[in-house]
């Protein structure tokens, strides 16, 4: 087939350059590139001239200017005296945090619900169906408001709390728990975890090889757990427990305003984060569930029948036979759900979660008026996040692809 085409191309090139599809192709490509380059240049030039004509400040100098406003969740050292550049980092990390945790939750819920919907148990299947149909059809912004205001109204007020094991506490200011304070020497434990992960990989490879060769199975999961959790824990104990916990301080006496959890003590998870996280994960999970269901249904029923004919346990059939084949169908649409979740996290501003769009493309833009620079930076961030996610998922998809022997 392909040799056919090139043969023809060779023939025609002898006739005339204008009838040569190859030369013509190159000609049009060059024209296209030139037109695009001109358009980009015209756009940039025009924008700069207009900004100057209107006396609107431009350039990236504003990134060094003092921000002078507070933010209610910061993952780096940030104060009002920090710069707009620091606000960018704060917003970026907050976006990554809610998107990352959201993707994790949405995946877990989505896979469970997707499988539940296929369950032979009528009640379980119906619960899954109702969950999917209801949450998928309500606008996400409404769900975000619902979770935010529902949670705020349902939990104890600022001066009281509900506690679990005296460690996890909740009230209207969020979830409060002890904050880990790594002491000198904690690095070793972190290194041990990393080594554990590497070792676990090696063990897994080895076990697979051995099973292929001899048919003997090896408890990979338990071994990995031992390596990743057990080993670092032993090292932690040996090195004299180099981790301390800062408990949140709760005052029950004194002036009414000062009662309740004290700002800056313990670890506070703000309700704005929780509400956004709930809404994003539960909403995206409905789509993931449908993708998972479709993926599983795409695997021919003969596979299940063959497995039961061989006497393989139901749970093993799902885990070892159905899911790996279904994954090939699931991963591409799953990627776009992950991207959707990340982009949807920009609805954060509605409930005061300080994500990138809220603090940087919102507050900083408003204060500096430098719309062009700020929107460009923000778009760049979302583009980068999307591309990185896609690359990762494509790689993962490739490892899952059918290996033909």
């Amino acid at each position: 087939m392909s040799s056919d085409i090139s043969d023809k191309a060779d023939d025609s090139s002898k006739v005339s350059i204008w009838n040569d599809p190859k030369a013509r192709g190159i000609f049009f490509q060059v024209i296209l590139v030139a037109v695009i380059a001109y358009l980009v240049w015209a756009l940039v030039d025009n924008t700069i001239r207009n900004l100057e004509a209107r006396k609107i400040a431009s350039g990236f100098g504003f990134l060094d200017t003092t921000a002078s406003f507070g933010i209610n969740q910061v993952l780096i050292n940030y104060t009002e005296a920090s710069s707009y550049g620091a606000v960018f980092i704060v917003g970026l990390l907050n976006t990554l945090l809610v998107a990352g945790v959201g993707i994790l939750f949405a995946t877990i819920i989505g896979f469970s619900v997707g499988i539940m919907r296929l369950s032979k148990n009528w009640v379980v299947a119906k619960i899954a169906t109702v969950y999917i149909e209801v949450l998928r059809n309500i606008p996400l912004l409404l769900q975000i408001f619902f979770w935010y205001f529902a949670v705020l109204r349902a939990v104890p007020d600022k001066r009281s709390k509900a506690s679990l094991f005296d460690t996890f506490n909740i009230n209207v200011t969020g979830i409060w728990m002890p904050k880990p304070l790594p002491q000198d020497g904690f690095n070793i434990v972190v290194i041990a975890v990393l080594i554990g992960i590497v070792l676990a990989f090696i063990v897994k490879k080895w076990a697979k090889k051995r099973q292929a060769a001899t048919g003997q199975q090896f408890p990979v999961i338990w071994a990995s757990l031992g390596l990743i959790v057990g080993l670092p824990f032993v090292i932690y104990l040996i090195s004299g427990s180099p981790l301390e916990w800062a408990y949140p301080e709760f005052r029950e006496t004194g002036s009414r305003l000062r009662m309740g959890f004290q700002l800056g003590t313990g670890l506070q998870i703000i309700p704005e984060f929780l509400a956004l996280l709930f809404a994003l994960s539960l909403y995206t999970a409905t789509f993931i569930a449908e993708i998972v269901r479709a993926g599983i249904l795409a695997v021919s029923y003969g596979q299940t029948e063959a497995a039961s004919a061989l006497g393989i346990k139901n749970s093993h059939t799902l885990r070892l036979i159905i899911i790996p084949q279904a994954m090939r169908v699931i991963i591409p649409p799953l990627t776009s759900q992950y991207l959707n979740l990340t982009k949807n996290s920009s609805l954060a501003v509605a409930i005061a979660y300080p994500d990138l769009v809220s603090v940087f493309a919102g507050t900083v833009l408003n204060q500096t008026g430098q719309a062009v620079e700020i929107i460009m930076m923000t778009m760049g961030v979302y583009l980068t996040i999307s591309i990185v996610t896609s690359i990762f998922m494509n790689w993962y998809n490739a490892t899952m692809a059918l290996v033909e022997r």
């Binding site: 400040a57 919102g362 507050t363």
Partner: protein, 337 residues
């Protein structure tokens, strides 16, 4: 030609078009037949839509007055509700002709955003509201408080300054929309709700039980609120500026919507204001009866104030510093002559 076409098409995509950059807002407004006015998303007394979508308020009156000056018809206004953080971009990009939305005149906004403030129609300052049961009587007792407010406002900056200056800890929860701020405050997420004092009066009406809340005595900032236009269009800037001045001058001269017709035969100053003598309207690019139309259709500053935010309205705000300079306040307009 080719260049222009291309750049217009492209520029439009990001909102900085070549055509909008040129001055001539007044001509554009006359051509399209209405004034596009940026207002709040609903702030009682200042800019608020009723059930039928008719806007009213002190800030809305500025837009109506400009329409009255240009067209002799105060209804030729279209409104664009904007959140605090959207408002300047909307004006810069030419989406609106005037921004009249409780906007504070600050140095940055006046000099770096390509904007001009055309006057002050309400002198304000930032205040705090708290629940009575907190037992707080001064803002200096607010150490450790959670504070709800709006993003993209001077409020957000003042509160940060105030708490830092007084070495008090605080947590700020900043929403885009004013309604969410008041809801979160009402739900107990915050101890304190802070904004311009006028905003406190207006938003207080939305609380479940307003009697359980008090406004603290401290006013922590200066918030001169006024209409804003794009920089570099002096004709339009002059028109909006003198529209505000005309309303204040009318109050000072005792010209009201009720007596404006008889005042046409009044003192020389009355005659100049109402266009019987002089060419003041023509110099502004509109008819000489511009101020007559403003007072006739919208009223003078006192009428607008009393109708929208004054003692007989739900907001019940006293004139205070917004009284005329001759009556103990600081509202002062240069003379029309």
């Amino acid at each position: 030609m080719k260049y222009k076409l291309l750049s217009v098409a492209l520029g439009a995509a990001i909102g900085f078009t070549a055509s909008a950059a040129t001055a001539g807002t007044l001509d554009d407004v006359k051509k399209k037949g209405f004034v596009q006015c940026g207002v709040s998303q609903g702030l009682s007394g200042f800019s608020n839509p009723d059930a039928k979508g008719n806007w009213s308020g002190l800030d809305v009156d500025v837009c109506r007055a400009v329409a009255a000056a240009v067209f002799g018809d105060d209804k030729k206004v279209k409104y664009t509700p904007l959140s605090a953080k959207e408002r300047f971009t909307a004006l810069q990009s030419g989406e609106i002709d005037i921004l009249s939305r409780n906007t504070t005149w600050t140095a940055t906004r006046d000099t770096a955003l390509g904007l001009n403030f055309a006057g002050v129609n309400y002198y304000d300052g930032q205040g705090f509201m708290v629940r009575k049961d907190l037992g707080v009587s001064s803002a200096l007792e607010l150490n450790g408080a959670s504070v709800c407010t709006n993003t993209g406002t001077t409020t957000e900056l003042n509160v940060a300054d105030y708490f830092r200056e007084n070495k008090m800890k605080y947590e700020v929860i900043a929403f885009e929309k004013a309604d969410e701020v008041i809801q979160a405050y009402d739900a107990g997420r915050c101890d304190v709700f802070t904004t311009d004092a006028s905003g406190l009066y207006a938003q207080r009406l939305k609380l479940q039980d307003a009697s359980k809340h008090i406004v603290l005595p401290e006013i922590i900032s200066k918030e001169p609120l006024g209409p804003v236009v794009r920089q570099g269009d002096d004709q339009w800037f002059n028109l909006v500026k003198w529209t505000v001045f005309a309303m204040v001058n009318a109050e000072e001269m005792g010209v009201t919507s009720a007596n404006v017709d008889s005042k046409k035969a009044g003192s020389p100053a009355d005659k100049r204001l109402l266009g019987v003598e002089g060419n003041f309207g023509k110099n502004l690019g509109v008819g000489n009866d511009w101020a007559y139309n403003i007072v006739k259709l919208v009223g003078n500053y006192a009428e607008s104030f009393n109708r929208n935010v004054g003692p007989d309205t739900p907001l019940g705000i006293a004139r205070g510093v917004n009284a005329l300079w001759s009556k103990g306040g600081i509202q002062y307009a240069p003379p029309i002559r």
